[in-house]
């Protein structure tokens, strides 16, 4: 099995799906000749031609809206938002259109579109190249939302998203592109949407998260093992629909839970995860539900101390995990 970077797993998923099905195509700003500002679509233009790796005008609502139209026709578009910070002009197309097409037509029409968008900070991107917008879309019925952490899941979830019959938002973490690598099968497989994954078995505390911060959780868990604290880690992988059973099972295992994400705390995915646990497992908990998230400020600053202050890291995560263990 090959070891590859997160970004290469994403690219491989697109390449394989485009080879498998000629209705699959990628569209977005700079995705064609340049191969994407991060090189995510590099090589696709050469292999599949101008239209299947389509450079679009700089207009996000059209990128989403055109993809939605093509999907209703029967194509399988993958629309790329260059940065998730820039997908808000497309929000009406995503929430009012893509999410509601099946429902409003009473199952007559459908919209099997994939919208990829890089999330997260740590690249000195400032306010508008660093955001995590998942909570804006979370809670919109009709959308599926995935946010992979491991390269294995990055490939498998993207392939599943392309084959899904409904609109899927695929949030890839741009800091993870070259920082996270791992084993990725070079053959065809999918990771089922709606299924969380246990990254590490443990007995003392449960940590639930998604995307890039799980790296810090894994590192902290390793170190805390030396202190005699055993952490159980659940990667949500899919944010919508949440894998309720996996969440409850992971919490039941230890009776103590910490929820972690880079998106800000108020109204974040962690709030819903926390509510699910409170509704179902309150009397099985040995500690209050804890959350460690981005601060409730509009977005992270570009100055290095400010960015560092905003972001999670191994030390912050380790401290929160230790506090929970010692509660």
């Amino acid at each position: 099995m090959a070891v590859m970077d997160y970004i290469d797993a994403i690219r491989l998923a697109m390449k394989e799906e485009m080879e498998r099905d000629e209705d699959v195509f990628v569209l977005g700003e700079d995705v064609g000749v340049k191969g994407g500002v991060f090189t995510t679509t590099k090589g696709l233009h050469e292999q599949f031609g101008e239209y299947r790796a389509l450079d679009t005008p700089l207009a996000e609502s059209a990128i989403a809206g055109v993809a939605i139209g093509a999907a209703m026709y029967g194509m399988k578009p993958i629309a790329e938002m260059q940065y998730s910070d820039f997908m808000f002009p497309a929000t009406n197309q995503i929430i009012s259109e893509a999410a509601k097409i099946r429902y409003r037509s009473n199952n007559d029409w459908s919209c099997p579109v994939v919208i990829r968008a890089p999330i997260g900070g740590g690249i000195f991107g400032g306010l508008y190249h660093s955001q995590c917008p998942e909570s804006v879309f979370f809670g919109t019925p009709g959308l599926k939302i995935v946010a992979p952490y491991r390269p294995y899941d990055a490939k498998g979830l993207l392939k599943a998203a392309v084959r899904d019959e409904d609109p899927v938002l695929y949030f890839e973490n741009k800091k993870a592109y070259r920082l996270i690598n791992g084993e990725v099968p070079e053959d065809d497989y999918i990771v089922e949407i709606g299924k969380a994954n246990v990254l590490r078995e443990g007995d003392d505390i449960t940590v639930i998260g998604y995307s890039m911060p799980l790296r810090f959780v894994e590192q902290a868990a390793e170190e805390l093992q030396q202190e005699g604290i055993s952490a159980h880690i659940l990667d949500l992988r899919t944010l919508q629909p949440l894998d309720k059973e996996a969440i409850l099972e992971a919490v039941r295992k230890t009776g103590k839970v910490l929820i972690i994400h880079e998106d800000n705390k108020t109204g974040g995915v962690g709030a819903e995860v926390s509510a699910i646990i409170a509704e179902e497992l309150l009397y099985e908990l040995d500690a209050p539900i804890m959350r460690l998230c981005g601060p409730d400020v509009p977005a992270m600053p570009i100055n290095p101390p400010g960015e560092k202050f905003f972001l999670l890291n191994k030390d912050k995560v380790k401290e929160a995990m230790r506090n929970l263990a010692l509660y």
Binding site: Y51, N106, N107
Partner: protein, 344 residues
Amino acid sequence: MTGMSSASQKVRHLELGLSDEQAINMYTQMVKARKFDERILLLQRAGKVNFHVSGIGQEVAQVAAAFALDRDNDYFLPYYRDYGFVLSVGMTLRELMLSVFAKAEDPNSGGRQMPGHFGHKKLRIVTGSSPVTTQVPHAVGIALAAKMKKKPIVSFVTFGEGSSNQGDFHEGCNFAGVHKLPVILMCENNQYAISVPIHKQLAGRVADRAIGYGFPGLQVDGNDALEMYRVVKEARDRAVAGEGPTLIEAMMYRLSPHSTSDNDLAYRTKEEVEEHRAKDGIPKFKQYLIDCGIWNEELDAELLAKVRKELDEATEYADNAPFPAPETTLLHVYANDSAQRGNR
């Protein structure tokens, strides 16, 4: 009704490639749409249905455009006043009536959406929403797919002049222009966006906006059925020949209030409405058919009686049809979902 003028006039629809029968069929669709609209206004006033948004004054352009398209293969993205259009591409009065009564059997949305929110996959009428002009990028996406799949079809999309100010109109036009896509954009300029008149919506002409996107834009008298037909047909020919989009601004007047919830005399006068009622394209087209010697008052009375009967039957059917079962509210959020999953 006799002499040289009728002979030269008669040539007009034949010259455009429309048979006598097709010309009469166009008129029939216009009358159907008008009578449907009037009936729903009555039903709403009688408290039988909750809401109606009218297309009175816009039927001529809608019907003429539909007849200029390939009604068996093209894709249609109408907006909420397009009763004449959807009737012309195959929706029935019964189906429209089921939508007005919000009944389970409504093919547009199964009684979920407001009336006027059309959708019918078998007829390639693409499902629409209420936020205006979101359908323009969809039409462009369908045209992109048609180009990629090398299919000789066009997508045809309509919208009002008010909504031509939305970003989605401009983003869609630009995208279509860049890739020379087979899409026809028809603005139904009815002079009002609810209460706001055209001079407070537009500083220029909608048709002229096409210049900025690199394709032709034409202003047409929307009450002139044959001119509308000619222009849309030409636009379609250009589109399938790979010459790209066309923007058509059909000039007309919204003779009804914006909706049954609107009192239009709060912002316009009766005199103004009457002035425009005199320009109504339906009686004009009827007169044209009479002048051609292919229509008369007797046939017209027969048609009106037939439409009235059809409307009576459709109304009775829709009135008596069942509402969707309440629990079905949970269905069709995702493919193959069940009520239980919808409730999670």
